[in-house]
């Protein structure tokens, strides 16, 4: 279970000081939706959970283990960003392999085939990432995220800009994976209909705080 316990983060921009104070809980096999207007701190929350930003107080635990002091690469987390999830000069296979820690050629080749089948891209293994469509690229990133086998999946508006059909397919895929692999998924979106479709619970970010809807 992921617990974000009153993490406080402050930063100053040109006009004012912004203060965030976040608390949330997410269980295994659960999809938690985060909605809110632009600039309210949705992505800041994900940056704090993933370790890209350091809070001034509070802690984050996963299965009661404090992960607040771990560097981003050491956290039991995998992330899908809105952009730049893939290195576009590398093949689909190479992009997926980059996410695996101990590479075992034979086993990994089988795993990659399996995971690509799961996201419907089994024929694209050798393709260069830049030749794929936006939706296909996000599916490759999702495949890599799954293969990394981390208990927490963070989605930072990764389906923005995709057409309705692809978006719906991706959402279904996320739901299926979350349930079958019993991972804990936090999905930030500006479109509340995404949450209506797959989220088990939804928080709204407003004035730097999370409110359970």
């Amino acid at each position: 279970m992921l617990k974000v316990n009153s993490i406080v983060y402050k930063y100053k921009d040109e006009n004012q000081e912004n203060r965030y104070d976040f608390t949330l809980e997410a269980n295994r096999g659960e999809i938690v939706g985060i909605i809110g207007a632009s600039g309210n701190g949705k992505s800041t929350l994900l940056d704090l959970i993933s370790g890209f930003l350091t809070p001034i107080s509070g802690d984050i635990t996963n299965d009661d283990k404090n992960i607040s002091n771990l560097m981003p690469e050491k956290r039991p987390i995998t992330i899908l960003f809105q952009n730049y999830n893939l290195f576009e000069h590398l093949s689909v296979e190479k992009n997926i392999l980059l996410g695996i820690e101990n590479i075992n050629r034979k086993n990994d080749a089988e795993k990659i085939d399996e995971i690509l089948k799961e996201v419907g891209l089994e024929e694209y293994k050798k393709k260069i990432a830049s030749s794929l469509s936006g939706g296909q690229q996000q599916r490759v990133a999702l495949a890599r995220a799954l293969l990394r086998n981390k208990p927490i999946l963070l989605l930072d508006e990764p389906f923005t800009g995709l057409d309705f059909q692809t978006r719906t397919t991706m959402l279904k895929l996320v739901k299926k994976i979350t349930k079958t692999k019993q991972i804990c998924t936090i999905m930030v979106t500006h479109d509340s209909s995404d949450c209506d479709k797959i989220a088990d619970k939804v928080y709204e970010v407003k004035n730097g705080k999370l409110t359970l809807l």
């Binding site: 940056d47 993933s50 890209f52 930003l53 987390i77 992330i79 730049y84 000069h89 980059l98 830049s130």
Partner: protein, 545 residues
């Protein structure tokens, strides 16, 4: 905070060590110069009349050169931006880009071939009007022509990029509101280029302020000397080290002040690519005519000297040239020095840019006073050349060679390498740093989350996105080093020479046929490296930086 510094130590430490090395070198030179002065003659209290005259002329010619270069640069960039289908536009832009690396001695040689006493123009004038231009190329006019030749094309190339970055929607808005061409320039184009105009002007002023080869050859007589040339003459011709020191201090102080206060100084070098501004309507007829005329006139002014070198050079006796031992020695010395300088420049630029980007990204090292100081030191060490002109640096090495026992070759090579690297760094940093910052902004989170670091990160994430810029730096630093005629003028002799120094010698002894051949070799080598090396690096690149 300390944790973040430790986390990024592998990218911080090499950059900070290089920065410290460069700053130490600058201090060593400064203290060597200072240590050599006579304590009874306070340098800064009374400047002799001669130094004041030199200073006045140096500032005067630099100011005029900057004004002319910028005005021509703006007109030409504006014309090129609005004439995307102009014949040979891409070739012209590529040639303008190369102006930065064209050896100054080549430019001077080409200009003399066209505008000199025995030049094409004079022959044409004699043939058509039976009258001749008498030596107008020597003196202030010659200095200005050569400076405008080199710097207006540099300004054009930089400002063209600004014009082409203006969103098309702005032009549509101007059209829909019925703006005149002047109003469009004032309200849409000027705001987009004015920042660059300022920084390009300050760069051009500094380059002209420290200009050496052009003034040395085209200055004509002592009344048209600049501080740099006067330092050279004091050391090499008059053996007056105390005068050289006085001049060096004046030069150093002014350059330092200029660089220090130009905190927003950006060299604004971009690669050869341009993005044509295709607007689906035509410019008014007379405006279009003016634009085409501007491009044609300056294009001709730019291409003719290069063409003259090629035409004159083809007729040279190349067998005789390559049989000369001095030529062979000069050629290989130039290639070796340029290659080593280029490798050092690339390594220094990568490490300095890598260290500097840590302070620019909030997600890496949060902003703090110490961070700002370190960032300033890194940036300042990258722009040292602008603060320490090559002749001053050369004088420092010259004095060091008199003080410490070591073979002459050691001091000569050290001086040349240092000057070449310092000369290339401001430009190479301005190319690579934005590219490295962009790569980090795009891929930092992905790399950190996938634990891609060290060599793996370099192979998968940095090199594919940076190799085009690195190719451009390789070409730029190689060519800048290849064509330099600054420090070699202090250290060059019969045994130790480079191609530009050899060419200068041939020009001085009126061996025009051989000089034409050597000029053609130097020009071909420079243009081939500058135009083709970046293409080799960019080949088969799928990564979009």
């Amino acid at each position: 905070m300390i944790k973040q510094y430790i986390r990024f130590r592998s990218s911080l430490i090499p950059g900070l060590l290089i920065s410290s090395f460069l700053l130490s070198l600058a201090f060593a030179i400064f203290f060597t110069l200072f240590g050599a002065t006579d304590p009874n003659e306070p340098l800064f209290l009374i400047l002799s009349q001669r130094v004041l005259t030199l200073l006045k002329f140096t500032v005067f010619q630099a100011t005029l050169s900057t004004i002319f270069s910028i005005i021509i640069g703006i007109i030409l960039a504006w014309s090129l931006a609005h004439q995307p289908r102009f014949f040979a536009r891409s070739l012209l832009i590529a040639l303008f880009s190369s102006s930065l690396v064209l050896p100054t001695i080549i430019v001077v040689f080409g200009l003399i071939t066209i505008l000199g006493r025995n030049g094409w123009l004079n022959h044409l004038s004699l043939y058509l009007f039976h009258s001749s231009f008498e030596g107008f190329l020597y003196g202030l006019s010659g200095i200005l022509i050569a400076h405008v030749y080199l710097n207006a094309s540099y300004a054009t190339r930089t400002l063209l990029h600004n014009f082409e970055s203006i969103p098309k929607e702005r032009y549509k808005l101007a059209k829909s509101l019925g703006f005149s061409v002047f109003k469009r320039f004032l309200l849409i184009e000027w705001p987009a280029i004015k920042q660059s105009v300022l920084s390009v002007s300050s760069i051009i002023f500094l380059l002209c302020f420290t200009s050496f080869a052009i003034v040395l050859i085209l200055g004509g007589n002592p009344s048209y000397n600049t501080l740099e040339v006067a330092i050279y003459e004091a050391v090499k011709l008059d053996f007056d080290i105390s005068l050289a020191l006085e001049l060096a201090f004046v030069q150093l102080s002014i350059s330092l002040v200029l660089v220090f206060f130009s905190s927003s100084l950006k060299t604004n070098i971009s690669n050869l690519k341009t993005q044509s501004l295709l607007i689906p309507w035509k410019e008014p007829f007379f405006i279009s005519l003016l634009q085409v005329f501007s491009i044609f006139a300056f294009g001709l002014f730019f291409i003719l000297p290069l063409l003259a070198i090629v035409i004159d050079g083809i007729g040279a006796d190349f067998i005789k040239i390559v049989e000369s031992t001095v030529f062979v020695k000069s050629f290989f010395t130039s290639i070796v020095i340029a290659s080593v300088s280029c490798v050092i420049t690339v390594v220094f630029t990568i490490f300095l840019s890598n260290a500097k980007r840590n302070f620019a990204l909030k997600s890496r090292i949060p902003q703090s006073k110490i961070g700002k100081v370190l960032e300033f030191f890194i940036s300042f060490s990258g722009t040292l050349y602008l603060a320490i002109p090559s002749l001053v640096l050369g004088l420092g090495f010259f004095l060091l060679s008199q003080k410490f026992e070591a073979p002459f070759l050691f001091w000569a090579i050290s001086a040349l390498l240092s000057a070449n690297v310092l000369m290339s760094l401001p430009f190479s940093m301005s190319i690579l740093y934005p590219a490295m910052l962009k790569t980090a902004t795009k891929y930092d989170k992905l790399c950190f989350s996938l634990d891609i670091k060290g060599f793996r990160r370099w192979i998968y994430c940095e090199w594919p996105y940076l190799k085009e810029s690195i190719g451009y730096i390789v070409a730029l630093s190689f060519c800048l080093s290849l064509g330099d005629l600054g420090i070699i003028s202090l250290f060059g002799n019969q045994d130790f020479s480079t191609l530009p120094w050899y060419l200068y010698g041939l020009m001085g002894s009126y061996q025009n046929s051989d000089a034409s051949g050597v000029a053609l070799i130097l020009l071909s080598l420079t243009l081939s490296v500058f135009l083709f090396v970046p293409k080799i690096f960019a080949k088969g690149n799928f990564a979009k930086s």
